[in-house]
């Protein structure tokens, strides 16, 4: 089972990385995660984010991800100590 964290996106850093304020963690997580993590995303279900990184821009990512509450399925940590994750919408704030 992969580790999962949830939280809000606080800053877009590049076409594939962002800062995240971690508010929830899966109880069974094996790793330790800080309150603030940098996420490198390899995959996302957010429709407005192009799959191909070359077709993305920062403003578009800010609109799609900025301040959003998201779920990160953690795949690994890279050499820059960033979390490599699959990013998705998490539940809903309402109907």
């Amino acid at each position: 089972m992969v580790d999962i964290i949830w939280g809000t996106v606080t800053k877009i850093l590049s076409k594939k990385t962002f800062e995240m304020n971690v508010t929830h963690q899966k109880e069974e997580n094996s790793g330790n995660y800080s309150e603030n993590e940098i996420i490198e995303f390899t995959e996302t279900d957010i429709m407005s984010i192009p799959v191909d990184e070359n077709f993305r821009d920062i403003m578009q990512l800010e609109q799609s991800l900025g301040d959003k509450f998201i779920k990160c399925d953690i795949l690994s940590r890279n050499e820059q100590h960033q979390l490599v994750c699959k990013v998705s919408h998490s539940g809903a704030g309402g109907y």
Binding site: T8, H24, I46, F69, H89, G91, A92, Y95
Partner: protein, 256 residues
Amino acid sequence: MSITCSPLLIDRNSTSSRYYEELIKGKIPAIIIPNFLSSIICQKLVRNIITSKTSRGCGITQKIGESVNSYISKKIQYFKKTKLTNKHLRNIFSDIDPRETMLNQISKTFKKKIKFADENSMLYSEGIIRLHIPGESVYIHRDNASFDASDFLISKLSGQLSAVLHLQSCESGGELVIFNKFWNIDDEKFRNPGFGYSRDIVSETPYTSIRCNQGDLVIINPNKYHSVNMIRGRLKRITLGFFFASSSESSFRAWS
């Protein structure tokens, strides 16, 4: 927590564009049209509903109809599923369609035209029936399509309101609780992973409690935090609802 001001009770002939402004600005917690639908009609509709197939949704175990927020990243599936459930809803309401009556009333009350929304010739869900089973409650949440459903066209509409028709009351409990607090983008850190928000978001916030009376039409600003108290007794709390928002100065579009 203290109780805030009361909902505005109006009759079917009362009209004013001021009502919309007052709900949008949060000056009143809700508008209620008591006995909008007679008990006889409600019971007739409930008989059709309880024998119909239901499905599970985001934050609810039994519903008929779709909700955009259950399909935030699955827009194609939303419209595919909606095509089927809109037919299902039309069958349930084949004799009497309360949605028509609700749309006509909203148009009259707020002095604006209204119809269900579409996108690229595909219809949005024409309402949703929610059946809250005894023991169930609805967690604190707010409804805001502009923020949540940014990939859908209805996110571009402004001033979202919610219309809910109470078709069956539960024996006790099931009150709609409206907190006098609007959602703010900074509140996202209080989100629950599954649905809604942590109770901390409304601690010490004044609220209004609205009983689920059969036949009442209740209109609220769903961008204020709200919840439904636990349903008690043997009967399900059954409602029919949809959202609506301004598409122009003179018209609304509705969806669920």
